[in-house]
Point group: C2
Chain length 143, copies 2
């Protein structure tokens, strides 16, 4: 039988995995080379900042980031330990808590962004033209 689409699909899948893994590795390496923490710290802090003036709860962040409950729990634990965020008790639901961005967290975001941005450009953006970028976005949006 001639399962042409099947073959092409698997090839595309393999390439997608390979490329995204490699890109992530390379970009994380750039951050590490600048003595900056990894992207998941950035993502949490950014979500918290973007939600301002509202506060997010761990469960909100977890859903936005598509990670496991226990992972966000411990990730926040580390951020708290570094003074980047604090926990604030949540009156409307005593099981819960709000995550508050501290100045140190805000500063870290600002410090990471230029490096992160440059890495995205270097490893990703610079290799595609505008048409390819929007075409990629459009295709990915179907997934």
């Amino acid at each position: 039988m001639n399962d042409n689409k099947g073959k092409k699909t698997c090839q595309a899948w393999a390439r997608l995995m390979r490329v995204s893994t490699k890109l992530l590795q390379d970009i994380e390496l750039d951050l590490k080379a600048a003595n900056l923490p990894s992207l998941d710290w950035y993502d949490v802090l950014l979500e918290v900042r973007n939600a301002q003036p509202n506060w997010l709860r761990p469960v909100d962040i977890q859903q936005k980031m598509l990670i496991q409950q226990y992972n966000i729990s411990r990730l926040i634990e580390r951020l708290v330990k570094e003074g980047l965020v604090t926990r604030k008790s949540c009156d409307c639901d005593k099981r819960g808590q709000y995550i508050v961005l501290e100045p140190a967290g805000h500063d870290l975001l600002n410090k990471m962004w230029p490096i992160y941005k440059a890495a995205i450009d270097r490893h990703f953006g610079d290799k595609l033209n505008v048409g390819e970028v929007s075409s990629l976005t459009q295709i990915l949006s179907k997934l």
Copy 2:
């Protein structure tokens, strides 16, 4: 200033990360639901089989899979423990070793593939038409 490409690039980057992470999670979940091991086991076994009739060395697999040396070392350790591959001493370089696919490894590949294939289709292939698949492949090939 009007950095339109910059914005689009970051958006595409974010979507690429989000989509690839989600796809990987979903497909790994399908494997786990079928009581099968994770994709990195599959990848190692597949590389070893594809290289036949030649044998691969850990360092070869490591390069093909873009993972760290200590990770491939331990991954192979687990595969050996499960009887999926064996190590064979390497005459031409006494530091090295060959990785030999055992029947159990071959069987596991055959058992995983239908599930893996179905998961790729369900979460990825079925959501794109042929044109999108080749366009995606083409764009990713530039990265």
